[in-house]
Structures are given as structure tokens and as C-alpha cells.
């Protein structure tokens, strides 16, 4: 304070003030830490301890690691189900306890890795429990994971579409319609041209067209975005269903036999156990998925384009005052998003099954929306969330085959249960873009 007394410069005497002010503000500005996460983890850990641990099966679970095509073979992993159930659930209890202690003692949020590690350990424990209790306690881990990725592909594309739209401030409920439109158009065009690659391209265009309707109504005519999205889903479903019965079924040979996109194996690399089939033995759509995740992530967070898109989704007025065209940015983002989802839709008819049927997307567009939220509007987060859904989906079909203590209907519910938990925000704090779903009208 001594300097201030001798200094008659206006403004100077206030120097003493900002210090306490600033420190306090910074300490208190953080959002309060809630009990939600520690409590959720504790409940899950307790459930794991009781079911996977105490009530766990006594059998030995066997996980095949290598498949026939690998260039070297690894022995299958065999684990005693009961013992590993106890050990893993104790780890879960430990993690939950750590989160509780952090909250209670220091009022701190658990570190970011904790929920992720918890999820992985929980899934492993669950897997051992399911397999150990099955009639034939043996599955191929490689097959399980590769199958998960395959099932996740359309979900990943769908959630990327969601990320692109919502980061710019437009809620995209129409992902389902974009997937379906892509699937239908891919089948039709590929059948007519006998070229699945043209089908792929047409799927992107179809998805973009569906999206443009969404963009037009929600941006130009400021119609409620949720309503336009829902209406679009119904519209695309009706339209493709109608064309399927009237056109495709009249001559399936001509209109509904698109042929498959080939699986491209990268020599040597595809022979690596477990990872090989996931990363290096994919269809074109599968490889495109990895490319799309990375490109969109870099685009959003490392480029000028991404900075502007995010600004438009967070504070459109601020963007406008800096000369950024808010509604044009939104329009093109929504359109690109539609194209991405369209490509995802082509996976159904060009890779998974080589023909179109009604409602072939089966609600995956909505799961994709959940993946986007669970992945916190981040392309990489959405990718892993989509993988989780793909995994749940795949696990369900596999355990039905090997025969488990749990009715397969319950297993079929799994992806949706995970979705409900994810969307309810029980897994960490998720914060959508601030202007998400709010139309921007100048002035």
C-alpha cells in the first residue's frame, strides 16, 4: 500500500484491491462438486460385488484371443470367474470409495480417468460373469470386439452428424432419418448402377438433402428444431417404406441388389491379434469412419473453421458482431452433418446386409444421439460412446448363442439402459453448446 500513497496517478490507488477479489472469484467460480458421480459409482460397485463377486459362477471363463487368420497365434485367456469377479469388484469398490473420500474430505471432483477406468473394469467383470455363467463358457474376444466395431459404425457416423450440427447450435433429431435415407439411396443407386461406390456417394447426398430440409425450416423459418427433426424421421421412414414396397419389391433384382462394398485387408497389419481385424480389416465405410472421427475432431478444435463453428453454437451474437455469418455457418454444418450420417446409413445396405428393408436403421439414429451426449459433443468421445453401444449390442447377440443365466431379452435391453443412464447425465457433467437448439434471429 505504501506505493499507492505516494502515487497521485488516478486509477493507481486501486491496485491493492483486485488481488483478494481475483483469488476469491477464481476459487469459487468452479461449479460445485456434487455427490452424483461418487454415489452412482458406489451403487454400481456394490451391485458388481454382490452379483459378479459373491454370487459369481464357479466356472472358468475362456476368451479366445486369436482368430484363424492371424499371423501369429496367442493362447486363449482362461480366468476363474468367481475369483476374478471378487477381485474386480473389489477394485470397483476401491475406485468408488476413492471418489467418495475425495468428495467428503476435500470436496473435489474425482480425476477424469476414474469414470473411464471404472467403466472398463465394470465391463470386464460383467463379461467374465456372463461368460462364466454360460452353458459353454467360452467366447472369442477378437470376434466380440470386431463385431462391436462393426455394429458401431452407423452409430459413430450418426453421432458425428449430431456433433457437427449441435456444435453449430442446431439440434439434430433427424439422424435416424438421415441414416435411413442414406441406406435406401445407397441400395437403390448401387443396384441401378451396379457400382456400390456410387451408392456410397448417393447416400451422402441423400443424407445431406434430408439435412437441408432440417436446416431450411429450423434456420430460415425458425420452426422448432425438435419438431422438424421428428417430422423428418417420420417422413423419411414413410417415404422409403412406400418406395420399398412399390418400387423395390416389384423387381428386387433390379432395384434392391446393391452388391457389397469389399472388405479391404491391409497385409500383415490385419494379422495382428485382436487389433488387426478392428483397424485393418474393414470395408471402405469402416475406414471412412476412422478418418471422419479424426478429421472432424481436428477440424473442430484445431482450425479456424472449427473455432467459428463452436462460437456460433455457443454465442451466436458474439460471432455475428465479429463478422461471422451465423446462419450460413449453421446451414452448411447441418448439411455436412447430414452427408456424414448418410454415409453411415450406406453401411446397412452396402456392408452389413446387401439389400434394403423397411426401417433398416432400427432406431440407431437415436442411439447415436445418446452417444453424442455421452461423448460430450466431442467426436472422439462420441466415437468411444458409440463403441460402447456397439459392444452392448454385439454382446447381446453373442450371449444369446452361448446361453447365459440372464434372459436374452434383458441383454437386449442393455444398450437402452446404458442410453438412459448416459442421457440422464449420471456419467459426469455434460454441457451442451450454450446456443444449442436456439434459433438466431438478428437484431
Amino acid at each position: 500500500m505504501s506505493t499507492t500513497a505516494t502515487s497521485p496517478v488516478p486509477g493507481q490507488p486501486q491496485q491493492g484491491k483486485p488481488q483478494p477479489d481475483k483469488n476469491r472469484r477464481q476459487a469459487e467460480s468452479a461449479k460445485p462438486v456434487t455427490w452424483k458421480l461418487p454415489v452412482t459409482l458406489s451403487v454400481l460397485a456394490t451391485v458388481a460385488f454382490i452379483f459378479f463377486g459373491l454370487l459369481g459362477p464357479q466356472a472358468t471363463a475362456k476368451f479366445g484371443v486369436s482368430s484363424g487368420g492371424d499371423f501369429f497365434q496367442l493362447p486363449a485367456i482362461e480366468v476363474p470367474a468367481f475369483l476374478s469377479g471378487i477381485v474386480l469388484s473389489l477394485i470397483l469398490l476401491g475406485l468408488a470409495g476413492y471418489a467418495l473420500v475425495l468428495k467428503a474430505r476435500q470436496n473435489q471432483r474425482p480425476p477424469r480417468w476414474l469414470p473411464a477406468v471404472f467403466t472398463v473394469v465394470f465391463v470386464v467383470a460383467f463379461l467374465i460373469w456372463v461368460v462364466g455363467g454360460a452353458r459353454t463358457p467360452s467366447i472369442s474376444l477378437a470376434g466380440l470386439l470386431a463385431g462391436s466395431v462393426t455394429l458401431a459404425v452407423p452409430i459413430v457416423f450418426g453421432s458425428l452428424s449430431g456433433v457437427l450440427c449441435e456444435r453449430a447450435g442446431v439440434v439434430n433429431i433427424a439422424i435416424e432419418g438421415q441414416l435411413l435415407g442414406g441406406a435406401f439411396t445407397a441400395a437403390l443407386v448401387a443396384s441401378l448402377t451396379h457400382n456400390p461406390y456410387l451408392g456410397l456417394l448417393a447416400a451422402a447426398v441423400a443424407g445431406a438433402l434430408v439435412s437441408m430440409v432440417l436446416a431450411l425450416f429450423s434456420i430460415k423459418y425458425v420452426v422448432n428444431q425438435i419438431i422438424v427433426g421428428v417430422v423428418l424421421n417420420v417422413l423419411v421412414s414413410g417415404l422409403t417404406g412406400f418406395l420399398f414396397t412399390t418400387v423395390m419389391q416389384s423387381d428386387p433384382e433390379k432395384y434392391n441388389s446393391p452388391g457389397e462394398l469389399p472388405n479391404i485387408e491391409i497385409p500383415v497389419l490385419s494379422g495382428i491379434p485382436v487389433i488387426g481385424p478392428i483397424l485393418f480389416k474393414q470395408s471402405v465405410v469402416g475406414y471412412l469412419m476412422y478418418v471422419a472421427v479424426i478429421v472432424i475432431w481436428i477440424g473442430l478444435f484445431k482450425t479456424k473453421w472449427g473455432l467459428r463453428v463452436r462460437a456460433v453454437g455457443e454465442h451466436p451474437q458474439a460471432a455475428d458482431t465479429l463478422g461471422i455469418k451465423v446462419n450460413a455457418t449453421r446451414f452448411w454444418n447441418v448439411t455436412i452433418g447430414g452427408a456424414v450420417a448418410g454415409i453411415g446409413g450406406s453401411f446397412f445396405t452396402l456392408v452389413a446386409i446387401d439389400s434394403f428393408t423397411k426401417e433398416i436403421s432400427g432406431g440407431r439414429g437415436f442411439i447415436a444421439l445418446a452417444a453424442m451426449i455421452l461423448g460430450r459433443w466431442n467426436p472422439i468421445g462420441a466415437f468411444f460412446a458409440a463403441l460402447l453401444f456397439g459392444f452392448a449390442d454385439n454382446l447381446q447377440s453373442i450371449v444369446t448363442i452361448i446361453g447365459t443365466p440372464v434372459p436374452s431379452q434383458f441383454m437386449a435391453m442393455l444398450p437402452y439402459v446404458v442410453t438412459v443412464f448416459a442421457v440422464a447425465g449420471l456419467v459426469g457433467r455434460s454441457r451442451p453448446p450454450a446456443a444449442d437448439g436456439i434459433p438466431y434471429v438478428k437484431g
Partner: protein, 555 residues
């Protein structure tokens, strides 16, 4: 050095439908000047600046830069021409860092469109060092205090090479100390050659920094004023008639304390304690003013008293009865009059008539209601009396309340709340966005309510209003009560307290400063302000009420 620019607005007219917001306005901003646009709320200052910044297209008139006419199709054009604007509501993305916000729209990129934030960081540091801003380029905006956010806005303009900087009501959100720092920054910018258009209605600040003052009233330029002119002169130019700046207020005659708040805590949905263990009492015939910068728990405090919050702990006693936990209706019936801070949102129903708005709290009581039917005649009759009594300027009580001006709307709210016997009167921001004439009137009514022996609680973010009305002043900071001080406590002490400095520290701090006398152009101290030069704020001298209080309210 910086290229200097002369900016001229010639015959600018902006109409919104039939409303003329700007009517042939001529303003010349000479280079290197601080040019103030002085006018009341709704006078058309912000509209004019939005025209200049390319956000609105003028209906008529032209903008000249260095005598060459220019047309701005958007803010981008204005920025390219060297015009920068700091909006009243900051245009910053809260989840972005300082660097990202500064870069936005004028990004430096490496090849392939990749952001080069290092370049932006360097520029921020450069400007930050030149003006002593102390801004960390990597801090998140939402973590920064308002004052620092404002500097980020200024940096944003400077990075874009602004030669004319428009500051739209920049002090509305600042503490008195932050305001001083801002005025200082403005002088520095001027000395570096930046012209500044300073939009304000706060006479004290305008007098402190302006080189030229243009007064705008109802969309028209009414003349130029000399910064040396007295506050009274400026005020009457702004309002268009002679105004009295002094409130004739008899000394308070406090009787027994009938309203008491004890350990009141309000918990927000986020879990934050927005009001944190506050205790105070108000005596009959006394005005307690709650001072503080916006968003420090004042809103929640008044709402909690009224019963609008769920998670409230502590006790609120009125005339020996606990009113915490009662329904809003019960609280109102217990004799609490409440003027909410946002009249258009909480005080009135804009589409209802004035007459209906005047009985919103008693629509179900005699004489307005009988059984399930209402008596429109009685409602209208009541409206006539109130409109006359409170001097509401309207041709008819049947008009929708939303069509009234801010001042008249506030009179309607005040008339409703004061037209029944009260045991406690709470007014939150009683004169925000209200014209000067109405302010005078509203203040008199508040004082009259006090003189009738009602405990009165005023919440105001305007220090001038607090000083003018209060018999005692309670300062809130971050939901906590920093202290309660008597009326006449120095502006410096109050300002420090509003920034969270405890009463003792604030007094010590203010006392240290005083021996070294401030220069005459000191931002906060107009010559009339006696307390500021008082060496011992603990024994406050008589405050000249209303010094510069005219128009000290914001939108």
C-alpha cells in the same frame, strides 16, 4: 504510430416501423478524442452506435471516415474501417479462452486453415503489457471477473487495429474501483491515439473523461456540452427541463425493529450458496439499502423473503411472525410490498391493461371480486385514482401496460405495491431504466412510505441511488454480508466493500489514500462530493445527496 481517423455521422436517421430511434443525428468524432454521447435510457444512443458498427442499416444519412462516405454491410466492414465496439453485454464466448475469443473472426492461420493461437497470444501479451491489463491469454472467460472480461473486449478491438473505439455503457457492470480503472484505460488509449466514443448517462464519469459531449434526447441531438459544465446543467440538457438533483429527505426517525432476517442462506440449484448466512434487521421508519455489484445475491435475497425460493435456511421474522416457508400469497397478505428488479418480467403482465395490472395481487379480494365474479367497474375506478396519484402518463387505464414507457411502468408497479397498508416494503432496482423525472417522483414516494413508519428495504446496484436513499447501507459480496454502515459512508469505502474488502480494511485503505490528494479530474470525485475528500470515512461528513445521481441507472 496509429493512423488517426476522423469519423463523421451525417444526418443519420433510423426508423423501426413508425418508431424513430434516431432523427437526423450529426456527430463528428475528431481523432484522438474521447467523445461522449450523453442521453437517458432509450434516447437512441445504442441504436446510433449499432448503425455505426454495421449492425443496423441507417434509414437515411451517411457515415464519413476522413471525409469519405462509407457503407457498412455488417460489423466486418466496420472493423475493417477501424471501428471497434465494446458492447454493453459482452460479446465473449464463456467457454473459450481469452486467446480464442480474441482470435475469433480475425484468426491467424498456418497453412491448411490450422489456428495459430501462439500468434494471438503474442499480440494479447503485447497489448496487455502496453496498457498494463494483466490478462492471461489462456484463461477461460467464464472464470474471469467482469472487469477483466471488459479488458478482453478492448483487446479484441485493439487487435483488429481499431482507431475508433465505441464503449456502450461500459461502467454499468463495474464496481466503482473497476470504473476508475476503466476511465484510466480510456485516457491511456487516447494518449496512444485511439479515439473513443463513450456512451453513458452517468454524469460523473462523463465529466471525468470527455473532451466533447454530445447530448441526445429522444433520438435527436439537442446540443453540445462542455465537460466543465455542472452536473445540473448536463442533467437538464439530457432531460430537457430543469431537474432537481437533491432529494429533500428528512432525517430518519427509526422506531422499533419489526423485520428481522437471521442466518439466511439460499442454495441455488447448482448447490452454490447464493445467499450465505446473512443477518440484519430493519426498523420501522428506516430505509436499509442493499448495495453490491449485480449478481452478488441481492436478487435471491429479496426473492427468498418473498417466498420464491425452495432451498432457504435461517429465519425471516416480520412483526414477530416467521414468514419463511410461507407461500408467496401469505407473505404478500402479511403486508409485504415488493417491487421486483425486472418489471417487464416479474412486475407486470405487458399484455394486460394498466387497470388489471394495478390489482394483480388483490384480484380475488373485495372490492374487486365478489365470489367468483370480478367487478370491472371497481377495477377501473381504482385505476383512475392510482393513475392520478402516481402521475402515470397515459390516456387511459385500459391500455396495455406494455405500451407504457419504463418510468410509467415502474410507477404502475409502485402504485400497486404501495396502495395497501404495508408492514414491509421491498424495492429492487426501483429506478432502473427510468427517466430522470420519474426517478425524482419514485424516490419521494419511497421516502414517504418510510416516513409513514414502514420498514423499507431498497436493493440497488447504483451506488448513487444507495447513497441518496439509505439510512443504513448493507453491502453484499458473493452472497455474504460484508458489513452494514451508516448513511454518509464514503464512496471509496463502499466501493471497496462492494469488491469484498471488509469494512475495517476498506476504511484503512481509503484513509491511506486520502492524504495524497487526487487530481482535479479524478473520476469519482466531483468537486461537489465532499465525502471523497474526507480523511476519516469512519466519521462520515454530510453527504451531498444526489451529486450526479441523475440518470444513474441503467437499462
Amino acid at each position: 504510430m496509429v493512423r488517426v481517423v476522423k469519423l463523421e455521422l451525417k444526418g443519420i436517421t433510423k426508423r423501426f416501423g413508425s418508431l424513430v430511434a434516431n432523427d437526423h443525428i450529426d456527430v463528428v468524432v475528431e481523432s484522438g478524442q474521447i467523445h461522449c454521447l450523453l442521453g437517458e435510457n432509450g434516447a437512441g444512443k445504442s441504436t446510433l452506435m449499432n448503425v455505426l458498427y454495421g449492425l443496423y442499416e441507417p434509414t437515411e444519412g451517411e457515415i464519413l471516415i476522413d471525409d469519405i462516405p462509407v457503407t457498412f454491410r455488417g460489423p466486418g466492414d466496420a472493423m475493417a474501417a477501424g471501428i471497434g465496439m465494446v458492447h454493453q453485454h459482452f460479446m465473449l464466448v464463456p467457454v473459450f479462452t481469452v486467446a480464442e475469443n480474441v482470435a475469433l473472426g480475425a484468426e491467424t492461420t498456418k497453412s491448411g486453415g490450422f489456428l495459430d493461437l501462439d500468434d494471438t497470444r503474442r499480440k494479447i501479451r503485447e497489448i496487455s503489457d502496453r496498457y498494463g491489463f494483466d490478462v492471461d491469454p489462456d484463461a477461460l472467460i467464464e472464470d474471469l471477473p467482469v472487469g477483466v472480461q471488459q479488458r478482453v473486449e478492448i483487446i479484441k478491438a485493439l487487435v483488429r487495429d481499431a482507431k475508433v473505439l465505441i464503449l456502450d455503457e461500459p461502467t454499468a457492470v463495474l464496481t466503482p474501483q473497476d470504473t476508475d480503472e476503466l476511465l484510466d484505460i480510456m485516457r491511456q488509449l487516447k494518449s496512444h491515439g485511439t479515439s473513443i466514443v463513450f456512451i453513458s448517462h452517468k454524469l460523473r464519469e462523463v465529466k471525468a473523461v470527455s473532451d466533447t459531449i454530445t447530448v441526445i434526447r429522444r433520438g435527436k441531438v439537442v446540443g453540445k456540452a462542455d465537460p466543465e459544465a455542472s452536473t445540473t446543467e448536463l442533467a437538464s440538457m439530457m432531460v430537457g427541463r430543469a431537474v432537481s438533483l437533491t432529494l429533500d429527505k428528512a432525517p430518519a426517525n427509526p422506531q422499533e425493529t419489526t423485520f428481522e432476517v437471521k442466518d439466511l442462506t439460499v442454495i441455488a440449484p447448482s448447490g452454490q450458496h447464493v445467499v450465505d448466512g446473512i443477518s440484519f434487521g430493519i426498523a420501522r421508519g428506516e430505509i436499509l439499502a442493499i448495495a453490491g455489484v449485480q449478481g452478488n445475491g441481492q436478487t435471491e435475497l429479496t426473492e427468498a423473503i418473498l417466498g420464491l425460493h425452495d432451498r432457504v435456511h435461517g429465519s425471516i421474522v416480520l412483526d414477530g411472525e416467521e414468514i419463511l416457508g410461507r407461500s408467496v400469497k401469505d407473505v404478500l397478505n402479511a403486508g409485504v410490498g415488493f417491487v421486483p428488479e425486472d418489471r417487464s418480467l416479474d412486475g407486470l403482465i405487458g399484455t394486460f391493461s394498466i387497470a388489471e395490472n394495478l390489482i394483480l395481487d388483490r384480484y380475488d379480494q373485495a372490492p374487486f371480486a365478489k365470489g367468483i365474479s370480478m367487478s370491472p367497474a371497481k377495477v377501473l375506478e381504482n385505476a383512475k385514482t392510482r393513475i392520478e396519484e402516481f402521475d402515470v402518463r397515459t390516456p387511459s387505464g385500459m391500455l396495455a401496460a406494455g405500451t407504457l414507457s419504463g418510468g410509467n411502468q415502474q410507477k404502475v408497479v409502485m402504485a400497486r405495491e404501495l396502495s395497501r397498508p404495508l408492514r414491509l416494503f421491498i424495492a429492487s432496482q426501483p429506478t432502473r431504466g427510468v427517466d430522470v423525472g420519474s426517478i425524482e417522483f419514485l424516490h419521494k414516494r419511497i421516502v414517504r412510505e418510510r416516513d409513514q413508519g414502514t420498514p423499507v428495504m431498497i436493493v440497488s446496484t447504483e451506488l448513487d441511488e444507495v447513497i441518496e436513499l439509505a439510512d443504513r447501507i448493507a453491502v453484499l459480496y458473493k452472497g455474504r454480508l460484508v458489513g452494514i454502515v451508516p448513511a454518509g459512508t464514503g464512496r471509496d469505502v463502499l466501493g471497496l466493500m462492494m469488491a469484498g474488502v471488509s469494512l475495517d480494511d476498506a476504511q484503512a485503505d481509503a484513509a491511506v489514500k486520502h492524504p495524497a490528494h487526487r487530481p482535479a479530474d479524478n473520476p469519482v470525485d466531483t468537486p461537489a462530493d465532499t465525502t471523497a475528500t474526507n480523511p476519516a470515512p469512519a466519521a462520515p461528513a454530510a453527504q451531498e445527496p444526489g451529486s450526479g445521481a441523475v440518470g444513474d441507472h441503467h437499462e
